[in-house]
């Protein structure tokens, strides 16, 4: 023992020096890995994505196919975790070798990405090649567009959809809701299900998720923030207490009071209850489709997102994420990123994407691809979300919210929703969220120098 301690004492400096060198060395190694060319002289295009599960599997297939299909570029996928993480990572790595050439970023980050000035607008590549973007669904483009310029390319696109368990409805002899339902259509089904099952089956669940709240507003053409949801300038005020906001939340609260509503706390629990016939209706992303169709088959019912009574459906905006090309890479790398983008959104690949993941094919020509045609013939309800997507014409309220820091607004709205579900006053809860977010918006605009 003594010898060892002597040895350590004598060579302590050496050890510490070695440790320091090791740490620095590892850092440098990690840093230099994102180099421009690979061994065969292809241009490396680093792609950051946030896809998990079936999405990741399919995406990797696409990447391999793209890499084999040509010899100029090599796409290098790097999984980056959640949508929220990526925004911060992009903000902090831009201009270094660690930043990607092309990345996937979520719907509500559009404004922040635009203001960062870190990306090349997709429009530049579209114009250069006269690429026909009219084939891409108009509301999908809407979320990634600023004053007519396409900033990013929508890729994995989803919309909120209403699912109902048609098997349960049949069992209790309940007429299914129409494909474009109003709140009271859904109330009828939910109540009947709850009553006729002797309260064994819950009628409806609406996760306390702000995206759902935002879509209630979209579908009734109600603005979330001034300056037309930020599309025409910097928003300075938000509006969470408009007629539709109150109407939709009161509707949900009435369901809570009646008892046919249940708050499952998470999307996962909701889905589990739905699949095990304990819940009749829920609203979530259209991306649930593949799992639900597998679980329920012909007993799955799907409708458009509900609208207030007496209001024409305005259409809802898309969720999911778009592809952005960074401007801190060479022209050649940017070109590679664009080629890859085109590859991902071509009709065939979008059709395969929808089939594999439940994300909606944004290319209008995808519906003619045999792979989608076949699955629509087998289970016609699979087509409902994509009909919903196609039926909407983009305007300011169904093209997403062009405001920095919507994430923060979302957590405030979610808090308000939870309060409402717990029985608190609808107006007061929403007003509190609105006031808090207006303060955030004010200091955010001030910090970014957007106020005079």
């Amino acid at each position: 023992m003594k010898k060892i301690s002597q040895f350590i004492k004598r060579y302590w400096q050496l050890f510490s020096a070695a440790a320091v060198i090791l740490v620095i060395g590892l850092g440098v190694f990690g840093y230099s890995r994102s180099q421009v060319h690979d061994a065969s002289g292809r241009t490396r295009v680093v792609f950051w994505h946030e896809m998990k599960g079936p999405g990741q599997k399919k995406l990797v297939t696409f990447i391999n196919e793209f890499n084999k299909s040509q010899s100029k570029y090599e796409i290098v996928p790097q999984f980056q975790g959640g949508y929220n993480d990526v925004i911060q990572k992009i903000m902090n790595t831009h201009g270094t070798d660690a930043s990607p050439a092309i990345f996937q970023s979520m719907d509500i980050s559009t404004s922040q990405m635009y203001h960062s000035g870190f990306t090349v607008p997709m429009q530049k590549f579209v114009d250069k090649e006269n690429y026909d973007v009219s084939k891409i669904a108009s509301v999908a483009r809407g979320v990634a567009t600023r004053k007519g310029t396409l900033l990013a390319m929508p890729f994995n696109t989803s919309q909120t959809t209403l699912y109902y368990n048609a098997g349960l409805l049949k069992k209790y002899n309940i007429t299914p809701p129409p494909v474009d339902p109003t709140y009271s259509d859904i109330t009828r089904v939910s109540k009947q299900l709850y009553d006729r099952s002797n309260h064994k089956v819950k009628g409806i669940s609406v996760e306390s998720y702000s995206w759902l709240f935002e879509q209630f507003l979209s579908n009734a053409n109600e603005e979330f923030a001034n300056q037309h949801d930020g599309h025409t300038g910097i928003s300075t005020k938000v509006n969470f207490t408009g007629p539709t906001a109150i109407k939709s939340m009161t509707w949900v609260q009435d369901r809570v009071k009646y008892g046919d509503f249940m708050n499952f706390g998470s999307h996962k629990n909701e889905m589990a209850a739905f699949l095990s016939n304990k819940l009749g209706i829920y609203m979530q992303t259209s991306a649930d489709m593949s799992v639900l169709a597998k679980g329920l088959g012909k007993n799955l019912g799907v409708t458009y997102y509900p609208r207030p009574d007496g209001v024409k459906a305005n259409g809802i905006s898309v969720g999911g994420a778009s592809l952005w090309i960074s401007n801190d890479k060479s022209e050649a790398v940017q070109q590679g990123a664009w080629e890859f983008t085109k590859f991902l959104i071509n009709p065939k690949n979008q059709a395969r994407w929808e089939k594999a993941t439940g994300y909606l094919a944004i290319n209008q020509d995808s519906a003619n691809e045999p792979i989608l045609k076949q699955s629509y013939e087998k289970l016609p309800m699979l087509k409902v979300p994509s009909d919903q997507l196609k039926s909407a014409k983009a305007n300011y309220t169904n093209s997403g919210i062009f405001v920095d820091g919507v994430v923060a607004a979302r957590s405030l709205i979610q808090n308000a929703m939870q309060q409402i579900y717990a029985g608190k006053d609808v107006y007061k809860s929403l007003k509190a969220a609105e006031d808090s977010y207006n303060k955030v918006l004010e200091s955010n605009n001030l910090a970014n120098g957007w106020t005079k």
């Binding site: 629990n269 819940l279 994430v407 957590s411 579900y421 717990a422 808090s436 120098g449």
Partner: protein, 318 residues
């Protein structure tokens, strides 16, 4: 100490003084050598601490005095305004209260149940070794794994807990979506997670209490309850102090469990301070506010640890 060194301008008086000076110079050389070693040994850790602790700390303090823009860069100086806004905000006060409830409950229940298990395992019974192993088992379970299976148990429609509740004739409980119950659920899970390690510490402490003390007490006719309060408890008090400190601090740091089980909800009922910092910084991108919250949290933990050492140290027998 540089101040204590003799000035070289001072001329020595006579040969004796000269000797003294050489001795002093020699010792100075040695001291100089010490210094060299001191820097050599402390240098790396000072460097690492500076880069990873001191700099971020100062930076956090700095950020908390500004508004930060989209990139997280400080742009507008606001002084202490971030602090006053935060301390006035109802949701922050609610977070403070929730953290207090959580930390105190976790700490108290962990000590009670840990001690109970240890006391049971300390009995000499057949097959007790098996239980001693089982009781430490939660040490081997990671936060994410335990969160996942507690989530299953708390599931409102399929979870086992609600089946038990229904079997007893009560209404099923929405564990993680009712504010009060969500706190209970999170506390229960945390206590369960801490239990293995706490058990181990208490068990070790109980085994280390000299048997002769109990023998003497038996001889003088003390009841077992008296023995517990007057022998066992004082003897294991250092361990108890240690457990109190670590559970309190780890309670403040609880993050993974909150993130996986409730995400701070419902209605911010489990939005503990640390989770709030994370959410504000890395989800909402509001670095200024997150920094302010981090500074306040640091101050709170410092105060509590200080008080704990002052108060408890007096009552602990070492």
């Amino acid at each position: 100490m540089i101040e204590s060194l003799p000035s070289t301008k001072q001329q020595p008086k006579g040969p004796e003084a000269n000797d003294k000076l050489t001795a002093k110079v020699k010792s100075f050389e040695l001291k100089k050598n010490d210094k060299y070693y001191a820097w050599l040994f402390l240098g790396p850790s000072i460097l690492l601490l500076t880069v990873f602790v001191f700099f971020p700390m100062l930076r956090t303090l700095y950020l908390s005095l500004f508004l930060t823009d989209t990139f997280g860069k400080p742009t507008v100086f606001v002084g202490l305004k971030n602090y006053t806004i935060l301390l006035k905000s109802a949701s922050y006060i609610a977070s403070l209260k929730a953290t207090g409830t959580y930390v105190v409950s976790v700490s108290v229940f962990t000590i009670i149940f840990g001690l109970l298990l240890a006391a049971m395992a300390n009995q000499k019974l057949r097959g007790i070794g098996f239980f001693r192993n089982i009781f430490t088992a939660t040490m081997g379970v990671s936060v994410s794994v335990s969160a996942v299976f507690w989530l299953f148990m708390f599931n409102p429609t399929l979870g086992i807990l609600n089946k038990v509740v229904i079997a007893f004739g009560f209404h099923p409980i929405n564990w993680l979506t009712t504010p009060g119950w969500a706190m209970v659920a999170v506390i229960a899970t945390t206590v369960w997670m801490h239990l293995g390690f706490t058990f181990l510490l208490f068990f070790g402490a109980l085994q280390a209490v000299p048997k002769s003390l109990y023998d003497a007490a038996d001889v003088s006719g003390a009841t077992s309850r008296y023995q517990f309060w007057h022998i066992t408890l004082p003897m294991i008090s250092p361990t108890m102090f240690f457990v109190a400190v670590i559970t309190l601090i780890s309670g403040f740091k609880s993050f993974g469990l909150i993130d996986l089980m409730t995400g701070g909800g419902p209605t911010n009922a489990t939005n503990l301070l640390v989770y709030r910092v994370y959410k504000d910084a890395f989800m909402n991108g509001n670095y200024a506010q997150a920094s302010t919250e981090a500074i306040i949290l640091t101050v709170i933990i410092a105060i509590i640890t200080f008080v704990q050492f002052k108060l408890l140290a007096k009552r602990v027998n070492y």
